[in-house]
Amino acid sequence: MIFSTTLLAQALVSGTLIGGVFALIAVGLTLIWGVMRIINFAHGEFLMIGMYIAYFLVATGHWNPYLTIFVTVPALFLFGVVIFRTIIHPILKYPAMNQIMLTLGLSLILQNLALVIFKADVLTVQTPYSRLTIPLGEVIVRVPQAIAFAGSGVAAVVLWLFLQRTDTGRAIRAASQNRDAAMLMGIDVERTFLLAFGIGSACLGVAASLMVPFYYTSPTVGLFFGLIAFVVVVLGGMGNFLGALVAGLIIGLTEAVGAALLPGTLARVLTFGIFTLALLFRPQGIFGGRQQ
């Protein structure tokens, strides 16, 4: 095997950058899990919807890709709220497996509706940023990836501040720590669930807009990112915000370094291997229990 330090350094850089996006996607999922203990199997499909919105705004409306955030975020928030109201809320009291089957069904619906409406085409859009690169010694940093990394970081910090510093954020955290106690303190738990589901979905709006300049959009794009989000959430500890951020970077690096060192698509096996090991030996995540 040809081993070059440049290749490895390049993988480290790209892995870190994409890892930031993985982290943001996973934060949305972990927020929903942490608050209402629902595993949303349609999480990746929510991202797919955001990407189609961003794609069409850029491709046909000639928007600046990063300005589409002002559409994708409210759209995904609203979509999350509607989905929560119509199908998630009625099954909150059912066993976890029913919830998994329901969201699995939802993901099949969304994926195949997208297939009906947009066909199986893989859509990419050229933006002024798409081909920009910054040379960093022998390593090349792609500008849209770097912006996505920075944007994800900003979004995560904003969300974290929201959860830590605002009353609504505190209510959400309280509801996730102890539902009954929160209710006794006068917190409208139902409303925090709704908000958490909306915010968790809105994270995907940010991720979608950040990814459109450099990633393709297709009906099945959510499959991959949905699975990656699960890997990251489990590795970071279900419901653990900071854990998801660190685990996002770990998985980003694993994917990129694995792709550089292993032939074909075997790097993916590494990712799922880490996932299985994490579930078996550290189901509480790399940082132990939930901390928020």
Binding site: I39, I87, P90, I91, Y94, A96, M97, N98, Q99, I100, M101, L102, L104, G105, L106, S107, L108, I109, L110, Q111, N112, L113, L115, V116, K119, A120, P219, L223, L227, F230, V231, V234, P263, G264, T265, L266, R268, V269, F272, G273, F275, T276, L279, L280, F281, P283
Partner: protein, 333 residues
């Protein structure tokens, strides 16, 4: 003779006899549909042992389907071993994998959503492993070579040959389920599902019970995988190990009724023809018609009848009784 008169034996026996006669009267298309119904009924019945009776919902049962399909097909294509033998080797291999998965998960107390996630991860890993293994065709997959009408190689000119095989397989799987459900093993499975701690306290070796269910379910699923390969004559990483087959295996059990003998078959009987017809009508314009239907049905069933169709039938039967009870209560007050 007395056992034959019991409706629970008599009705299925007549049904089986009627189904045996079907190829004589039905068109090739109806037989094809019947093969699909029976195949999914069979796979869902196999899944139901672990998912329904033992309550451990595997979302990655395509792992075992794939092991069965790849083992028999690899042995057939590369070494000329007949699938009649290959399918059993596949079942043994899948049983070993099922033991491994079961031991790994249940030994470390993985259950519920976590078990579902591990099984997805393992099936997904299998997709990428097979995609990169050139000796089994890599991402292109394997094609079952057509050597003419050779019943000894599980190859038939008409669809009826395949139909009889899957009919017998399904019948045997249902009988096995029924047999297990009336014996200690079945009781232990349900005990584990309903309350693991209580079962353990009563002396049930819950770890061993769950692993047994996993091995049995995996081996049965693998036999179905070998049939799948022979019938469709092509297997690839995504179409046997992927997410779609996993969903299709568990779907009919969930919709029909978890942990019931006839639920999985009923689910397949109701849903597969509708899905296939929808695919026929819309097939040209888009390929996901059946999946769209499955997704919708899954959401609707989970929202309105979480115990599946059998649960709904049970409720209908109970309704007059309840009404009578209500009337009695009215009289009392």
């Amino acid at each position: 003779m007395s056992t034959l008169r019991k409706p629970s034996v008599f009705v299925p026996a007549v049904l089986f006899a009627l189904l045996l006669a079907l190829p004589g009267v039905a068109s090739e298309y109806v037989i094809h549909l019947s093969v699909l119904v029976l195949m999914y009924a069979y796979l869902a019945t196999a899944w139901n042992i672990l998912g329904g009776y033992a309550g451990q919902h595997s979302l990655g049962h395509s792992l075992f389907l794939g092991v069965g399909a790849y083992t028999s097909t690899f042995l057939f294509v590369q070494m000329g071993v007949t699938p009649w033998l290959g399918m059993w080797l596949g079942a043994i291999l899948a049983g070993v994998v099922g033991w491994f998965v079961g031991y790994l998960c249940f030994r470390y107390g993985i259950k519920g959503p976590y078990f579902a996630l591990v099984t997805i991860a393992l099936a997904e890993a299998a997709v990428y492993i097979t995609s990169n293994a050139s000796f089994i065709g890599g991402a292109r997959g394997l094609e079952v070579t057509w050597l003419g009408s050779r019943p000894d190689l599980m190859q038939f000119n008409s669809k009826s040959g395949y139909y009889y095989i899957i009919l017998v397989m399904t019948a045997l799987a249902i009988i096995l389920t029924k047999w297990c459900s009336q014996r200690g093993f079945g009781f232990r499975l349900v005990a584990v599902r309903e309350n693991e701690d209580a079962a353990e306290a009563l002396g049930v070796n819950t770890l061993r019970t769950k692993i047994q269910a996993s091995v049995l379910s995996a081996a049965l699923t693998a036999l179905g995988g070998s049939f799948f390969a022979q019938y469709f004559t092509y297997i690839g990483p995504k179409n046997v190990f992927g997410e779609v087959p996993s969903v299709q295996i568990l779907l009919f059990a969930i919709i029909g009724g978890l942990g019931t003998v006839w639920g999985p078959a009923l689910g397949a009987l109701i849903l597969v023809p509708v899905a296939e017809l929808a695919r026929g009508w819309l097939g040209g314009s888009f390929s996901g018609a059946h999946l769209l239907l499955y997704g919708t049905v899954l959401v609707v069933v989970m929202l309105f009848m979480p115990k599946g169709i059998i649960g709904l039938l049970g409720r209908i039967r109970l309704r007059p009784v309840r009404r009578r009870q209500a009337r009695v209560e009215d009289d009392v007050t």
